[in-house]
Amino acid sequence: MTDQKEMESASHHVVSPKIYVIILFALILGTAATVWASFLELGPWNPVIALAIATGKAMLVVLYFMHVKYSSKLTKLTVFAGIFTFLTLIGMTLADYFSRAWGQW
């Protein structure tokens, strides 16, 4: 990003195939890990681990395959705002549903 031309057009930052190959292997590894983890008896931690691995994989895809790591601040802010809004909505909905019958079971 030191190059002046790249500073001017971050949307055209060319990500090298080497990075794509590394991400590909990381994603395949993540898939293997999540399948393996699902066969372990971890009680309440099973879904947590499954979602954590899925989120890690999704972050790799967003940052590298979708170039967000190399994108403009506007794009970064857009993606962050979207995820934040989504988590807020899903969090509030689930908080409501899970606490409606609080203490009545």
Partner: protein, 254 residues
Amino acid sequence: MSDSTAIAHDAHAAPDHGHGEAHPTYLRHHFENVEQQADAAGFAMWIFLLTEVMFFGGLFTAYLIYRNWYYPAFVAASHQLSVVWGTTNTAVLIFSSFTMAMGVWCAETRRRKGLVLSLCLTFLLGLVFLGIKTIEYSEKIEKHHVPGFHYNLSSFLDPDNDAAAKAASDKALPLDMARHTEVYFSLYFAMTGMHALHMIIGIAILGYMIFRARAGAYTSGHVTFVENFGLYWHFVDIIWIYLFALLYLISRHQ
């Protein structure tokens, strides 16, 4: 990042083409320069993807609520899915995301043959994914696990006579809980079906892009379309990453 604050410009006042400035033919007149145009298109694509996140988010929320309420039914029903097919499809989709990313790279570095090959591979892997999905769906249809009038509960009431349930050493569910497996399959078909629809649309656009790429449309400096289609394809991949973890891998140990 392009300097989008420099909007004041006098040369574009004339509506005709006589402004005397040299610019690529793909630069629309309401944009200051190519970077600004690409930034605007990328921004719009992300906004579209966010609406998609919200759309799928509703399905994921419904899934999480029902899974919490009817957990034993969701576990038993998820055992009817094949982890092998699911894992294979995840790998296929991840690989197609990789070939798509390579396609974007080829377009950026103006490699026409590489781009056509990347797009063709992505196209083929997309078809492989849908093929495997068809095998899985037809299995569900044969076992009457499609929600509706012909929904069959025997896999959950009598797991000893069901190969998949027996392999997972499922115990028989009480009738009221067994009925809730239909909720799981409703969500399964809604979510994977909507995902498959996105794949079909993506594959159709890929077919169009292959023809355009062969003519050299994306390897002369104008990569916006390939780039933004790549964003769409990767997004569909991310949805599947979550679907796989949530639908196939609820619990494989009990």
